[in-house]
């Protein structure tokens, strides 16, 4: 039986009993996971071809490099735990951890869901198969869930593990925490899916789909964030209160702080209580609540998918521009006069990046989303403060710090700017993004170093954008002084050169050119992860360098000057090396496309 796409309504009884339907779903999910995480290829490359062996070492080394960072986090958590425990508020940290994780999922979920549901190429293969729309979507959903487990691990696991160890938790904690972790992405993702599926149904009938998808996903993200903030504010109860009263209220009863934080996204309360409660009635009840709501939303999503999913998917690739001959005049205007090759290549990079939603979302937009996430978390962890337009407790704290130690402020701001601008996939997918079209770059009469320079310019512009957005956040929310901002921007721009070069070099060393689905080039590209690890390593090295300078009792100005000079020198050298590398590497790439 052939089920017409989008026939919907779950009409066809279809192929067989519940058991075999379940089996099909499992098969679809398994196929999805396999093709998305490419374990087979990884295994093959590692054990059969013995190609990527060095990668294992590199990744191991970078985890070692990141280890001090996690150690620092663990120590901090332990200290805060010590402070909160006597007040009966120790589990508030847990809800903060889960909340941060779920926020991340909400924010990135919009992109993950859109790309998985609507832009994966295997849809063209899946849709003709005798599967229900909901089954196809469930398969895709599973892939995103697994993706999210990996994404939020760095945020959630340190909190869960440290608290478990510090509080000497019993098996109830660990079992429940694992179950909570498993369910964690489901609620936010299901909520996002519901909205996205509805949105795409509308988008698909319009012209200018790409633009709408982009605007829609940004609006969705903003909406999601906005709702969280409003939730947090209104739950605070009306009436002006002094900050002392607020603080007193926060610590009034056991877990009051936990509840206060969780208000922004109630599932994080259930999650925290489920883990903290262990096998007690309270723990199990919260666990049941979390899983119940998760499954309920999932079921709702599947139901909606049956009706709307295929109508959003099918025909999405059609463009609706009218065919029209240009007049001689129009043609003459649109045929450009000869630009320099570098400018032409920059223009190509720019257009392709901005017109491919997946590229834009995983590249340029990160530079905007990061600062937004920061603002959100800062207002949230203030315990829903922000009343009367004022900023929350952490922001007040940061502000106080800002006036105290200009060196730390400048460095922290520079770090923030660097993270916003450089920790995205723009530079580390710059060659991969060309994919099967790389032959063009190979045959045009433009020196590889010039092509690489144009690509550098494009990636660096994104890094600079991050510096600007982060700078704006620092200026508006932290009211930082202009001198500090300028110094921080100088450092971040210098570091940006180095990090951009490193990202490009990694992608140039092992570009992924044989993709058919643009997601593979950026979202599932190992180079992006490797570059981030390398970036963290570089920043850690810079951190220790600065620490040494401070120990040597250098003045603020001198420390900053030395750091800047060092960064600038390394950046210049690395840029020159990248140019040579491009000349050497290009002739060996993409010949079998």
């Amino acid at each position: 039986m052939i089920r017409a796409g989008g026939a919907g309504g779950g009409a066809g009884g279809g192929a067989g009993s519940g058991v075999s339907r379940f089996r099909t779903i499992v098969t679809v999910i398994r196929a999805g996971l396999r093709s998305n995480f490419g374990l087979a290829t990884v295994k093959h490359r590692l054990f059969k071809e013995k190609k990527d062996r060095w990668l294992v070492w590199l990744i191991a080394a970078s985890f070692l490099g990141v280890a001090p960072l996690f150690y620092g986090i663990a120590v901090t958590i332990q200290k805060v735990y010590g402070v909160l425990k006597p007040m009966g508020q120790e589990w508030a940290l847990l809800s903060l951890g889960f909340l941060a994780g779920q926020f991340l999922i909400l924010i990135f979920g919009v992109y993950y869901i859109i790309s998985a549901f609507y832009f994966s190429r295997d849809l063209e293969l899946l849709i003709p198969l005798p599967l229900r729309p909901s089954e196809v979507m469930a398969g895709k959903f599973a892939v995103v869930v697994v993706n999210e487990w990996l994404t939020v691990a760095a945020v959630v696991l340190p909190v869960v593990v440290t608290l478990g160890v510090v509080s000497r938790a019993g098996p109830g904690y660990w079992v429940n925490a694992a179950l909570v972790y498993a369910a964690l992405p489901v609620i936010p993702l299901a909520v996002v899916s519901l909205v996205v599926v509805a949105m795409m149904r509308v988008v698909n009938v319009s012209r200018k789909k790409d633009a709408l998808i982009l605007v829609g996903s940004i609006l969705l993200t903003v909406l999601v964030l906005g709702i969280q903030i409003v939730l947090g504010k209104t739950a605070g109860g009306g009436g002006p209160e002094t900050s002392a009263e607020v603080v007193a209220k926060l610590f009034a009863s056991p877990d009051s702080l936990l509840n206060r934080i969780g208000v922004f996204f109630p599932p994080s309360i259930w999650a925290a209580k489920a883990a903290a409660g262990g096998f007690t009635a309270k723990g199990l009840a919260n666990l049941a609540l979390l899983w119940g709501v998760s499954l309920g939303l999932f079921a709702g999503m599947v139901g909606l998918a049956e009706m709307l999913f295929y109508r959003g998917v099918i025909g999405l690739g059609e463009t609706t521009e009218k065919k029209r001959r240009l007049t001689r005049d129009e043609m003459s205007r649109r045929v450009t006069s000869a630009r320099r090759a570098k400018a032409a290549i920059f223009g190509r990079e720019w257009k392709i990046m901005n017109r491919t939603p997946i590229f834009l979302l995983n590249g340029t937009l990160v530079a905007v989303i990061f600062p937004a996430f920061f603002v959100l978390m800062a207002t949230v962890s203030s315990g829903g403060g922000g009343r009367g337009g004022g900023a929350g407790v952490p922001i007040a704290l940061l502000k106080a710090m800002a006036s105290a130690n200009p060196l730390i402020v400048t460095l922290a701001t520079a770090l923030f700017m660097t993270v916003c601008g450089s920790l995205n996939g723009t530079s580390s997918s710059t060659f991969s993004r060309e994919g099967a079209q790389f032959w063009i770059s190979r045959v045009i009469p433009v020196a590889p170093r010039e092509q690489a320079a144009a690509k550098f310019l494009h990636s660096y512009l994104v890094a600079a954008l991050g510096v600007v957005t982060a700078g704006a956040v620092a200026a508006i929310f932290l009211r930082e002084k202009a001198v500090h901002l300028a110094a921080a921007a100088g450092l971040a721009l210098a570091a940006g050169v180095l990090l951009t070069v490193v990202g490009m070099a990694i992608d140039l060393a092992r570009p992924l050119l044989d993709w058919t689905n643009p997601q593979k080039a950026i979202k599932q590209n190992l180079n992006v992860l490797l570059a981030m690890l390398a970036d963290i390593g570089i920043l850690t090295a810079a951190f220790f360098g600065v620490k040494a300078l401070i120990k040597a009792r250098m003045g603020t100005g001198a420390t900053l000057a030395v750091l800047f000079a060092a960064l600038a020198a390394v950046s210049a050298a690395s840029y020159a090396a990248l140019m040579r590398f491009a000349d050497k590497r290009y002739p060996t790439l993409g010949s079998n496309l």
Partner: protein, 243 residues
């Protein structure tokens, strides 16, 4: 002018010898047709000429420029049409043509004239402001051809350019081949269509298992063939590529 001198190329660390000691010269003003069974080494040879692959041994020069030692000079005078038209899906046809015009340094006046001419001939004028994503396979191929013609290169290298074109476009393309070479330029293309090679080419080369087994004008090929019925190119081809 294209010169290949004792060129060899193998894949998989020498396990597959795709091109084996190939020597070949295509003179200016010549249309050269490159024939051979599937897997004979045609695409590999073409990729060697345009610099997509490096020869293991031997020397390749285009208009006197060694493609390994002076790649930019060689590329400046060559354009290439691959067997599969992979082009930037997110650019419009016109943006792609402008990009190619920019990187080859084609001045505005020539650019405008050539773009209009070829868009008219290939009936692409109405689609040129749409993203390439929306083109049919044949339209993509025609935009790649237009891009290859845009710099009016001294040398054009095309890998099975007639596959997928409708009869009218194929006809136009063959006319273009003739005009290109009458202007003293060089054209090298691979094909599986015997009549096209027979009618269009000044000289024909047949490659089999990486070796050039026959090369010359139609008359020379006929003279070379010893079997008596071997008068059509098809029969010659079948004769020299046996076993």
């Amino acid at each position: 002018m294209i010169e290949l001198e004792r060129v060899s190329k193998s894949y998989n660390r020498g396990q597959v010898k795709a091109v084996d000691d190939l020597t070949l010269t295509v003179k200016p003003g010549e249309i050269f047709g490159f024939l051979g069974p599937n897997g004979a080494g045609k695409t590999t040879t073409i990729k060697l000429i345009v610099g997509l692959l490096r020869p293991d041994a031997g020397r390749i020069a285009v208009e006197g420029h060694d493609v390994v030692k002076e790649p930019l000079a060689a590329k400046q005078v060559t354009t290439y049409v691959p067997d599969y038209p992979a082009v930037y899906e997110r650019l419009t046809g016109l943006e792609y043509l402008n990009f190619i015009g920019d990187v080859y340094g084609v001045a505005k006046a020539e650019r405008l004239e050539r773009i209009q001419k070829w868009l008219d001939i290939f009936e692409l004028a109405a689609a040129v402001t749409n993203p390439i994503q929306s083109y049919s396979q044949g339209m993509k191929q025609k935009i790649v051809l237009t891009a290859a013609l845009l710099p009016a290169p001294r040398v054009m290298v095309l890998d099975e350019p007639l596959v997928g074109l409708d009869p009218r476009s194929a006809h136009q393309l063959k006319e273009m081949f003739r005009g290109h070479c009458d202007a003293g330029k060089t054209l090298f293309f691979s094909t599986h269509i015997m009549e096209v090679a027979e009618k269009l080419c000044d000289r024909i080369g047949i490659i089999h298992r990486g070796k050039l087994v026959a090369c010359g004008t139609m008359a020379e090929l006929k003279a070379m063939d010893r079997t008596e019925g071997g008068q059509s190119l098809e029969e010659i081809f079948l004769g020299v590529t046996e076993t």
